[in-house]
Symmetry: C2
Subunit: 160 residues, 2 copies
DNA sequence: AAAATTTGCGTAATCAGTTACGTAATTGTT
DNA sequence: AACAATTACGTAACTGATTACGCAAATTTT
């Protein structure tokens, strides 16, 4: 228990960040364990394309709630690896659509198996705790999307 | 509800990261609201020094569970602002000790008031949910510190 | 006391994301 | 049809953190 953890409510942002890094790092080990040439950071984009088929940069960015340069960057890496391909949209010359390549499709079953196992293990860890972090996370996300932090703060400040 | 959120257990690392960023960004607004010249990222170091008085770089890094270059970087900014000062240790020529400056001490009461309010508000948000995220986070942290992710994964894989 | 190891710190390079800005294509307005 | 506004994408610069590496001081070993 370090100083930050002792702070409870004050520092739970830092704790969440740290936790998420631990999880990401764990992901690398697992792909390596299976000898699969894949990185955790590629997951959101690759998974998105596996579900939606073909999609433009902005659509993906919005769907994944990340910036569009982040999509471009990840796409560059996945394209270099040959796991996805991109081509200009025919009906809108501004758009570039991404989709999973043949090579990517071949990899997909292995990845899906790994994802499934990771998901099961995570679900298992989560469900065997007394407090369910997914439920808790969802409630906090909802609470925050209602009102901005500052707005909420001002209100809270007033009624104190 | 975006794609990532729908993934539940598989992507809760990303969700936590996003949540922590939301919280950090909220912090900025609050300092600005109070007209206080302070950034959320300075909090861990400054708070640490406010509790421990004087401390070396490594001690702080370990206490806060961050890398020592991160401490150096933050210290540089706080020193530039004049909120902390540093001096070579007298009994160990390798060490450089940090402590809060006069100017920093003057700022401290205001900061403490703000921290207290943020803490209260966070506690309020957390406690008025059905599921307590702090409890949940603590359980997950404990679960992960027991065993590495891969270790846990291998075991889980075996018994599946 | 000399040699080897460890510790504390600093710098550089890297990483994964962001914001800011520019350009070209499309859509909306008059 | 011309102009204005918006949208889609790309690049560049920045951010906040990390790992890798090197050096000097302290500590331990022999």
């Amino acid at each position: 228990m370090d100083l930050i953890s002792e702070l409870g409510a004050l520092a739970f942002g830092s704790r969440m960040k740290r936790m998420s890094e631990t999880i990401m790092r764990g992901g690398e080990d697992i792909y390596r364990f299976y000898g699969v040439d894949f990185q955790p950071k590629w997951f959101p984009l690759f998974y998105y394309l596996s579900q939606k088929g073909e999609a433009g940069i902005m659509e993906i960015a919005e769907g994944l709630n990340i910036s569009h340069p982040a999509v471009i960057q990840t796409a560059k890496e996945l394209e270099k690896k040959g796991f996805i391909i991109s081509k200009k949209s025919t009906d809108d010359a501004r758009k570039r659509n991404l989709k999973i390549s043949k090579k990517g499709k071949n990899l997909l079953p292995q990845l899906q198996k790994i994802w499934e196992e990771i998901k099961n293990m995570n679900a298992n860890i989560i469900e065997t705790r007394e407090h369910n972090i997914l439920e808790a996370l969802k409630e906090i996300e909802d609470a925050w999307s209602e009102k901005s932090y500052l707005e909420r703060f001002k209100e809270f400040h007033k009624i104190q």
